[in-house]
């Protein structure tokens, strides 16, 4: 890859280092013990020239410009595993790794796959390069009406922020349609934004494109401001994270819930709808942006346990130690790059655990995951028969005849 000349060090290093203090708890970086737990827990730490601990050491030595020329930041999946374990509570993912990606991206060191996703996000409002006019095309597959903001011109209780993969990816659209059925069964008064919805931008932000994130957030803010609603719900933990933690910093503040929270509030209404379809052994994969980042561990499990005949078992890595599917932090758009570097897929590591747990079903709660884990199930011996489903799908299945 052609590399423009790096910014002058040590001035660059100093400016970079001090910019990290702006994050919440950012100054904790000064207390780094060089214990390397971050690098050890990192799923790709072993193939990085600059795992987080080493990056901090080099910054202290005043020489970081090599980092700009290394592509190791593109191995970071922004999974917060490092941040979770840091004994000094350094916000490794949100400050150090994200800022590093921003610098590397500014220097023009961007893998081609990621470049396309960023350009698509800018042009079409989604990283898949699909027409924004087709964002709500999935509703045409349903035999009932899904209310869009354009048609429902009155205040509603809920705005459903559908999200990118939930809107466009053929596998994930099945989850989206199931959620629409669930909302209908619960008689929720809601709207979707349709073509006016844009990517939440969170993964683009974590891939170093903060400017793009802001542009997308502003577009969504404009769409929100044209509707009246009580709260936002979403099936996408990345959108949830953006709306809950990042948009407010841009002055875009709305109450937001992940569907797991929203449905647990209505558990008593849901339970009578669920039939006993027989025994099934299920394990749940905590998505990084629902679990580690936003501490939502119980609600998804509560929903699963509400299903008659369902036995919930845990994989060795669960809750705060959950293993990343590999899709975060731009990972959805770096699969080829990462395969070349690591010759490993994180989703396959996770699938091996699911297989060793001897389950019938791997339950999910994030739209990045179904295609990744379905692919992994095909590749892992003993996992071929594991059914990969979102919790929503599992609920809707036992609601239907």
């Amino acid at each position: 890859m052609a590399m423009p000349s790096a910014t002058q060090s040590p001035l660059f290093t100093k400016e970079f280092y001090t910019s990290l203090f702006e994050n919440i708890d950012g100054e904790n970086i000064k207390t780094c013990l060089q214990c390397a737990t971050c690098s050890g827990v990192c799923p790709f730490g072993h193939v990085m020239d600059f795992p987080p601990g080493r990056m901090i050491a080099w910054m202290r030595a005043g020489i970081l410009e090599e980092m700009l020329e290394s592509d190791s930041v593109w191995m970071c999946v922004s999974c917060y595993a490092c941040t979770e374990v840091c004994p000094k509570e350094i916000p490794v993912t949100p400050s150090l790794m994200t800022r590093a990606k921003e610098e590397v991206l500014l220097a023009g060191n961007v893998p081609t796959e990621l470049q396309s996703a960023l350009e698509f996000s800018q042009r079409y409002g989604n990283p898949l390069g699909e027409s924004s006019r087709k964002r709500a095309a999935w509703i045409e597959d349903l035999d009932f009406e899904v209310p869009t903001a354009r048609k429902v011109r009155r205040p509603v209780d809920v705005l459903w922020f559908v999200g990118d993969y939930a809107s466009y990816h053929p596998r994930v659209k099945e989850v989206t349609k199931a959620f629409a059925k669930l909302l209908k069964a619960l008689e929720i008064d809601y709207i979707i934004l349709g073509g006016a919805e844009n990517s939440d931008g969170d993964s683009q932000r974590l891939a170093g494109e903060k400017g793009l994130f802001e542009v997308l957030a502003e577009k969504n803010a404009k769409a929100f401001s044209r509707c009246e609603f009580g709260e936002i719900i979403t099936t996408d933990p990345h959108a949830y994270n953006a709306l809950k933690n990042e948009y407010p910093q841009l002055g875009i503040e709305y109450p937001v819930k992940h569907y797991a929270e929203f449905l647990v509030e209505r558990l008593e209404e849901i339970k009578p709808l669920l039939k006993d379809n027989g025994k099934v052994r299920v394990t749940y994969h905590d998505p990084c942006y629902l679990g580690r980042v936003n501490d939502i561990y119980d609600e998804p499990r509560t929903l699963l346990e509400a299903i008659p005949g369902l036995e919930l078992v845990e994989m060795p890595h669960n809750k705060t130690t959950s293993l990343c599917c590999g899709g975060g932090g731009g990972g959805m758009w770096l699969d080829g790059f990462r395969w070349e570097k690591a010759e490993a897929r994180l989703s396959e590591w996770r699938m091996r655990e699911a297989a060793s747990t001897a389950v019938d079903v791997l339950a999910l709660a994030c739209p990045y995951e179904p295609p990744r884990f379905e692919d992994a199930a095909k590749a892992i011996k003993g996992a071929e028969d594991i059914v990969v489903k979102d919790i929503i799908e599992l609920l809707v299945e036992v609601m239907e005849e």
């Binding site: 921003e102 500014l106 470049q115 542009v215």
Partner: protein, 255 residues
């Protein structure tokens, strides 16, 4: 100092469904989304690469269209020095003969050594821009170029022929080159850089008083291709499809 001018235009985005205007003779502009002609994007990259290699000044000229300001600021963030927007009756997308004559007038004022433009665009019904501009300025033109090296008084332009053959063309300057591909893929610029340019860079507007739409043939009608001869679709799950494919392979004797 080498002065390089790039002529860039926005073209219909083929990701969107295209519709025909009610008169049946043009694209329906109402539903059209525009994006930079990808070959022009390569021309811009090639210009910036030349500037980075040997110095010089890069000027981008583009006709007015929805989104053109963003496109121009993006080129500035990549390294273009001067941005010019042609302003006039561009709403219905004039043909390339008309556009070339507008391009030529403004490009001439810049006294360029080298003019780069995309070798083609997806809506070139009356020929590509480059040769038309070259004639207006009485400059030589060579197209299908995928590499440019500046030399004393001229350039070596690597022209693509079918089958991977390359012709090394010696071209005297000033000249117009139709770019097929830049030597490096077009670069990504962070939006923050583009936003900075929106604050710091200026777009010069040049009025184009008249656009004579001659030079093409009269269009009887535009229509979507008939879908009658489409492929026979093989349905089923992956195993069923695989079985059917193998059956076909055997039928035509390749297995």
């Amino acid at each position: 100092m080498t002065k390089i001018v790039v002529l860039a235009k926005l073209v219909p985005d083929l990701v969107e469904e295209l519709e025909i205007a009610p008169d049946g003779k043009a694209l329906d502009m109402m539903w059209l989304r525009l994006l930079i002609n990808e070959f022009d994007n390569h021309a811009i990259e090639q210009a910036v690469l030349l500037k980075e290699a040997v110095g010089g000044e890069v000027t981008i000229i583009s006709p007015d269209a929805e989104g053109v300001d963003d496109m121009l600021f993006t080129t500035a963030a990549k390294g273009a020095d001067k941005l010019i927007k042609l302003v006039g009756d561009f709403e219905d997308m004039p043909n390339n003969h008309a556009l070339a004559s507008a391009f030529a007038k403004v490009a001439k004022e810049e006294q360029p050594d080298l003019i780069l433009t995309g070798v083609q665009a997806n809506n070139d019904l009356d020929g590509a821009i480059g040769p038309l501009v070259a004639k207006e300025l009485d400059m030589p033109y060579v197209g299908y170029i995928s590499g440019v090296t500046l030399e004393e008084g001229g350039v070596i332009a690597r022209k693509e022929y079918p089958g991977g053959l390359i012709g090394e063309m010696e071209v005297k300057l000033p000249a117009v080159l139709g770019i097929q591909a830049s030597e490096e893929p077009p670069r990504y610029v962070a939006i923050s850089k583009v936003r900075q340019m929106m604050k710091s860079a200026a777009i010069d507007e040049h009025d184009v008083p008249e656009l004579a739409d001659t030079g093409g043939l009269p269009v009887n009608r535009m229509y979507l291709p008939e879908a009658a001869e489409r492929a026979e679709m093989i349905e089923g799950d992956e195993d069923e499809i695989a079985a059917k494919l193998v059956e076909l392979f055997q039928e035509i004797g390749v297995m």
